[in-house]
């Protein structure tokens, strides 16, 4: 099963190395990993999307992360109300005559054209994984020349409500 885990870690040299090394040697399966500074420059925040077989596997990942002296807090936020976003840059084949069409196509995704070459354009999109994947599928027929994804970064929303609770009322009634 796929889980999203966040960890706050000391922003010391080598901490990324410690954690990726741990994942590799314990054969934990990571799909993506992102890291960046927090409001406190001494502390970084990491977001992992991992694949585990079962609860026990998940438990091991969390406990092994906690064993690292530089890891301050670990949390599996998969089942919580979270904001999870990634950014993707997609370079696609685009002859000048196709550009208008592409531009219209990606508009609903709020993707922007960030670079234009002779035979290609580069799109930038941010959003949750599903949205990013949907856009990639959509532009695939044009021919993707290069693709770079940052992986998910996430944190909890400002409420304690679970995403799966759904809204208690809707705007219709």
């Amino acid at each position: 099963m796929k889980r999203t885990i966040i960890a706050t870690v000391n922003n010391t040299s080598g901490v990324m190395n410690r954690i990726t090394g741990l994942f590799a040697r314990r054969h934990f399966n990571i799909e993506s990993i992102t890291v960046g500074m927090t409001e406190n420059p001494a502390i970084s925040r990491m977001t992992f999307v991992i694949n585990v077989d079962d609860e026990r596997g998940l438990d091991q990942v969390i406990k092994q992360l906690y064993k690292q002296v530089d890891v301050l807090k670990v949390r599996d936020i998969t089942d919580e109300a979270i904001v999870a976003r990634e950014l993707a840059l997609i370079k696609i084949v685009a002859a000048p005559q196709n550009r208008g069409e592409i531009s219209a196509l990606v508009e609903p995704f709020r993707a922007s054209i960030v670079d234009v070459g002779r035979e290609s354009i580069t799109l930038q999109v941010t959003g949750d994984q599903q949205k990013v994947e949907a856009l990639i599928d959509l532009v695939k027929p044009y021919g993707i020349k290069e693709l770079a994804r940052t992986g998910i970064t996430a944190f909890k929303r400002g409420t304690k409500k679970s995403v799966f609770d759904g809204p208690k009322y809707s705007i219709i009634n």
Partner: protein, 575 residues
Amino acid sequence: MSPKIKEVDGRELYTGNQEMTGSSMLIQALARENVDVIFGYPGGAILPTYDEIYRTGIRHILARHEQGAIHAAEGYARISGKPGVCVVTSGPGATNVITGIADAMIDSLPLVVITGQVATTVIGTDAFQEADIIGVTMPITKHNYQVREVDELPRIIKEAFHIATTGRPGPVLIDLPKDVSTASGFFNYDQPLDLPGYQPTIVPNKLQIKKLADAVTNAKKPVVLAGAGVLHAGGSAEFLEYIEQQQIPVANTLLGLGSFPGTHPLSLGMAGMHGTYTANMALHEADLLISIGARFDDRVTGALQHFAPNAKVAHIDIDPAEIGKNIETAIPVVGDAKEALSMLIAENGTPSHCDKWKQQIADWKSEFPLWYKEDGESLKPQRLIEMIYEETNGDAIVTTDVGQHQMWAAQFYKFDQPNRWVTSGGLGTMGFGFPSAIGAQFAEPEKQVVAVLGDAGFQMTAQEMSILQELNLPVKIILVNNAALGMVRQWQELFYDERYSNSLFPIQPDFIKMAEAYNIKGWKVDDPKEMQTALKEALEYDGPVLMDCRVTKDENVYPMIAPGKGHHEMEGIKP
């Protein structure tokens, strides 16, 4: 103010909060941590520190190979309970201690390892004797540090000792670049520790203790599996009290031997691949298995799908990551073994009614004891261990190397006391036995230390005989000499149709002459009738000794759980 804190060899160590070089800080900090001996080997990048060692006179034991130094530090740590300290130079000095660091990591031994490093100005340029020891040791240390600024040094050393010795003990490495060791800074060792990411749980949850006590009351076939965690916690006395209160049979892991008296009626002996039939069958049939400070290593469990199939598992461990790692656990108890046992004693639950179970165990014990066959000609290695046990009154510190002799020592030397047994369990490091005996002798200068070694493993670190010679250290080396890589030979016999690939020694050195080269007294024995007398004489000899004991060459260790098999499938359970 510089209070005098130590006098060693007529030289004094001072400490105080003042300006000094990085190397001075290091030695001052070691003195503050009550380090009474360093094992090490000098070289370019660590020379400033060696100069400080010279100046202060802090005790340093010069090994003849860095691997000898680190295994000595491990033996010292295992017996003294204090951190072993090892100092080596950069590059090859540092890479030579890697095996020992990995060994200490997997067997939870507290070490503080200080490696020299090239100057910060050239780190990353493939400078002379530069090795990325931080990168290399990241997975095999509990934590490691590279010191970038001299002012960080006191904090780092203080943290290193704290991390190495608390929680689940382990090795911590400090990489000290040469320019940092010569730079000047302000030494302040009184700053409080600030380690928000390192907060081991010592006192277990009371509810879990209650659950465990109730599980014992309701069990029909309870058994305890006790590992080295009990020893690291210093909890043997509490353990004995708890077991006598609850009357639960006890199996030990290899490393847990001595945590519970081996001759106690409730002792089942060692569990695992070469454990006793009784211990393994008790684990197999148990309905409640309480693991205390043991980590369900595969050499203990055998094939996991057959392990303790009917048992509800309770697991007391200071490392939460060990709980549930290999075995589904119903009652997790995170905390120090001694604390947990004290709480269990205080809980004073009703013991289980398990007379039938105890009868079953007694039957197994009498029907399937450990065995070997005398042939009336050759010296049986098992008999040799029994003789060592008899001649040392079961009270020696015994260290071993890795292989058949290690298993025989574990089987036939009945440890009644904690902290008498030093062996490489998790990593199975050949070359460990002899230098670890040297470290053990430093931890207990007055005690009899016997190094039971294979003829192959001894040759991996034999150069440390220099230390015995230099210091007249009375370690007794006993070679269980079968002219083979015995354990490898056994596996080739059993699982490779007797194709003895590179496991039989066509020639061997004259071990007695080797000993004599170091001015160590040697005995060679091959006649079983002479063994006991020679052994007595050697053990009584005032000084280091090497005994070359020529044992039966093709003896195998039994009983045995073959790879892939379960506890109930032991082979060689009877003559």
